[in-house]
């Protein structure tokens, strides 16, 4: 059974985000920093008359810091809106959800966000649960 996925790039890797998690796709320009917050919290941005918390997906996966990302996927978790920064966005495409192949091991943080794979022209793409990126590296590690 096909589901809709949004294909995005995080740290040079393609990922598939289930489209029911995606409220909209926006460009984030100005961000208000949140001092003392975890490193993956990029800050706050205004989206029309709403404030969203900007999440650096690269940092949330413990891969350093994303530099160039300004595109973001808006998702809602527990009544809070988050903008998850990604590097590039493709179209929304229907794919079949498949379980991870046996024996494939991901790193601990990827493990916490991965929900399976989809296959695009033979290339496997990890399904990433956008909501799972939000707690950030420290909480996942704990």
């Amino acid at each position: 059974m096909s589901e809709l996925f949004l294909i995005a790039m995080i740290s040079g890797r393609p990922v598939a985000i289930p489209s029911d998690q995606v409220e909209s796709v926006v460009d984030i320009s100005e961000v208000t920093a949140v001092p003392r917050a975890a490193s993956h919290i990029r800050g706050l941005a205004a989206l029309r008359s709403r404030v969203v918390t900007v999440i650096d997906a690269v940092a949330a996966l413990g891969l350093g810091k994303s530099v160039s990302a300004t595109r973001a996927v808006i998702t809602q978790v527990d009544n809070h809106y988050y903008a998850v920064l990604v590097e590039a966005l493709d179209d929304v495409t229907p794919f079949d959800r498949q379980p991870l192949a046996n024996g494939v091991t991901l790193d601990e943080r990827w493990d916490a966000v991965a929900e399976g794979v989809v296959e695009r022209d033979g290339e496997p793409i990890l399904i990433v649960n956008a909501a799972a990126l939000i707690p950030g590296p420290s909480e996942i590690a704990a």
Binding site: V34, A46, I134
Partner: protein, 774 residues
């Protein structure tokens, strides 16, 4: 109570309106069970409310009707037309009385006995009298809270839209007419917003009014006596919040009485008044409401909690023990905990503090505990005013702006203002604003935001957190703005320093600071403070006697010395050349006056020294030291110096020997207006000083009363009175009267005096001295 009455009237009136149809239907078909139940519920509710509101007439009527209807429900009576008529007559009468109460009219109670009598089996049917319509026009409407919610969130969006409009208009040159229209809209939006906010607010009184009864019943159930005082009942809070707080609050209070407050016997033994005290106080603090429940019971026995938790849940006791104090205290919120060994009918029914915490969490609140074992427990529930629109002060650090709720701001001063000075003490800074000393937190430093201050002076925002005030240093104070505060994402709130986020006119999101969070993140401790503001003085003294606050200095001779903080008025840096030897002693000219200078060493070739301005009532001495270092608390015993001199004794502080300066000697020797009577005043010898208490508290007390007080006797000197805390005062007494101070309130048989009883101490000394003279 008035609120409750109004609510009762509104509710009864509304039920009566819907019931009108039911009554007619019941009359037509007396066997209809659903109709009967509806009427039964009505009289039952009225009966319940009346008992609470003390409305005996309504209670009598509804009680009688309920009895009869219960019989009908049980099948003991058949609802014949006479009975139906009698019940309806009573329902009508209830309606009349309610209207009369609302209108403030008196309604003669004649005929009510007849109405009740008519309910009896086989009674004469009552004649239905249609009462003249005395009904006042209803001025209230009952609304669904959801509707109010929608109104409120619509209002917030409206404010945000207005802000955005204002911002966009400002980008271009704006037509004055458009500006005027915008102004008018802003004003009416502000008006509207205030009204809408009020619709959701309710006084905490509705929550607090049931507490006296809860406390009375709970205390009676466990054989304890508890005095309840309630403060802040007129603080307003969102209706839904009030409802959500009801159960947790009652639970905490029951816990406090059942677990916290001891039995009268135990309290007597612990030297506490037999009546336990319980204070429930509410106040608004920034964009939060804080409800504090303070009892003076035994506090939380952390060791017992750990044992219990390990026993009940099988968790590792060792591991629990190694937690931080704060985490240990937090264990009371763990599920599966009841520190009471036997289950009482009050608490211990499987509903624990874990449930309390989760209900508070649900409304976005948090609970703070302040445990003083043996002395009491303070539980503070912080709940947010969600969706609230608050007035805030916008401050700037470097490029970034932050909002501080206006209510938390006491005052804003410039660092360079005349009556403001900032001193660095140890790692921290202290700001003295007029005579007030406040801990200072550099916001930029705390948040790690680079400051753009350079040479500009900082602005100091004095904020109060409820438990204490402190000073926030910021680069600039930008504006005063009305802001819609929304809760920030959990990962933002986790930093502990923010209270929410907002979108101001600039279009850039802004964080709202939670001042209490800032204080605790910066490590400021305000202590239990005024837990019982109106508590007897002794409480405060007992707390203070646990340590002596002192200022550590590096003296001119290189030694580290401590000066009791109580006498230090302020610290100033002065050029060494300002100190001159004139008129027989060292003096300094400062602020247009000449002060005597005390120095325990040579100034040498220093160009700058720190000057401690010591104050004692009317005399002032400047004590010259090399540097002021830190504020310390001396809890160790002070080993007294062998003779009366600049140093009162030695004390161990962090494995270092520190000399404690004798402030009295400083004033005795250096102050210009030394008391001439001192020589002839009777001498009191403080023969022991277990914890600094004698010197800090007894000494000023005695000196004020005109005695000369010494810690040791000089050669040939004789003390008139010797005060001691020990059983054996030693050999120094030399025939003088000895007064022993005891720690407990009881035990006056041996002639000792309770150490906190100032009056008795003074009268005992006076009695001994006059006895000596005779």
């Amino acid at each position: 109570m008035d609120d409750l009455l109004q609510e009762f009237i509104a509710e009864t009136r509304e039920t009566l309106e819907t019931l009108a149809g039911e009554i007619v239907a019941w009359e037509a078909a007396p066997g209809d069970r659903a109709r009967l139940d509806a009427i039964f519920r009505f009289v039952h509710t009225v009966k319940g409310s009346c008992g609470f509101l003390d409305l005996p007439r309504l209670e009598r009527l509804s009680h009688a009707a309920e009895d009869v209807l219960a019989q009908v429900r049980d099948g003991a009576r058949v609802p014949d037309p006479a009975l139906v008529n009698a019940v309806l007559a009573i329902v009508d009468r209830i309606g009349e009385i309610v209207e009369a109460i609302d209108a403030g009219n008196a309604l003669p109670d004649s005929g009510e006995e007849l109405l009740i009598a008519a309910l009896e089996e086989g009674a004469e049917a009552v004649v239905q009298t249609t009462a003249p319509a005395t009904r006042t026009t209803s001025r209230s409407v009952r609304l669904n809270v959801e509707l109010l919610d929608r109104m409120m969130s619509g209002m917030s969006d409206m404010v945000l839209a207005r802000n955005e409009l204002a911002r966009r208009l400002r980008e271009d040159d704006i037509d004055p007419q458009v500006e005027a229209a915008l102004e008018r809209m802003s004003a009416s939006v502000a008006d509207m917003r205030e009204t809408v906010t009020r619709t959701r607010m309710q006084k905490l009184d509705t929550l607090f009014s049931v507490l006296p009864r809860v406390v009375r019943d709970t205390a009676a159930g466990v054989g304890k006596q508890v005095k309840l005082s309630v403060e802040g009942a007129d603080v307003e809070l969102d209706r839904e919040m009030i409802e959500a707080m009801r159960d947790p609050l009652v639970h905490i209070i029951r816990n406090a009485i059942d677990h916290g407050i001891e039995t009268p016997d135990d309290r007597r033994r612990a030297g506490k008044p037999e009546n336990g005290r319980l204070t429930v106080a509410a106040r608004q603090s920034g964009n939060q409401i804080v409800i504090e429940i303070v009892d003076d019971g035994r506090g939380i026995d952390v060791a017992k909690v750990i044992r219990k938790l390990a026993g009940n849940t099988g968790r590792d006791e060792q591991e629990l023990r190694s937690l931080s104090d704060r985490a240990k205290l937090g264990l009371i919120f763990e599920p599966g905990l009841s520190t009471k060994d036997e289950v009482t009918n009050i608490s211990g029914r499987g509903v624990g503090m874990d449930v309390v915490r989760s209900s508070i969490d649900q409304i976005g609140g948090r609970i703070e505990l302040d445990n003083a074992p043996g002395k009491g427990l303070r539980i503070a529930i912080h709940v947010p005013l969600t969706l609230s629109i608050i007035s805030a002060v916008v401050v700037g650090i470097g490029e970034q702006r932050f909002a501080i709720p206006r209510q938390a701001v006491e005052e804003i001063v410039s660092e360079r203002a005349g009556n403001v000075r900032v001193d660095v003490l140890g790692k921290g800074s202290v700001a003295t604003v007029r005579d007030r000393k406040l801990a200072m937190v550099d916001l930029g430093e705390l948040l790690g935001v680079p400051s753009a201050r350079n040479d500009h002076c900082a602005m100091l925002v004095i904020v109060s957190t409820g438990t204490g005030s402190f000073c926030l240093a910021v680069d600039s104070v930008i504006d005063n703005e009305e802001l819609v505060i929304k809760p920030a994402a959990p990962s933002v709130m986790a930093t502990g320093v923010y209270g929410g986020q907002t979108l101001p006119d600039t279009g850039m999101p802004m964080l709202v600071l939670d001042c209490a969070g800032v204080a605790s993140t910066a490590g400021l401790r305000f202590g239990l403070g005024d837990m019982f503001a109106d508590e007897e003085e002794e409480e405060a003294e007992a707390a203070a006697s646990q340590g002596l606050a002192a200022l550590m200095v590096a003296d001119l001779d290189g030694a580290h010395r401590a000066v009791p903080l109580a006498v230090v008025d302020r610290i100033e840096k002065v050029g060494a050349d300002a100190i001159r030897y004139s008129a027989g002693r060292l003096r300094i000219a400062i602020d247009g006056e000449i002060l005597p200078v005390a120095a325990l060493g040579d100034i040498g070739d220093r160009t700058e020294i720190a000057l401690l301005r010591l104050h004692s009532g009317d005399s002032e001495v400047a004590y010259a030291v090399a540097e002021a270092m830190d504020i310390v608390t001396i809890t160790e015993d002070v080993v007294p110096a062998p003779e009366y001199g600049p140093v009162a004794g030695a004390v161990l502080l962090n494995d270092e020997h520190i000399e404690l300066i004798d402030a009295n000697w400083m004033f005795d020797t250096h102050a210009e207006c030394a008391d001439a009577d001192q020589a002839t005043a009777p001498t009191c010898l403080l023969a022991s000083n277990r914890d600094g208490w004698m010197r800090t508290f007894v000494r000023p007390l005695l000196e004020q009363a005109g005695y000369r007080v010494v810690n040791t006797l000089k050669e040939g000197e004789r003390a008139a009175i010797v005060l001691t805390e020990d059983d054996s005062p030693g050999s120094v007494t030399d025939g003088a009267s000895v007064i022993r101070l005891r720690d407990s309130r009881t035990g006056s048989a041996d002639g000792s005096v309770f150490r906190y009883d100032r009056k008795e101490l003074l009268s005992a000394i006076a009695a001994r001295i006059s006895g000596d003279a005779a």
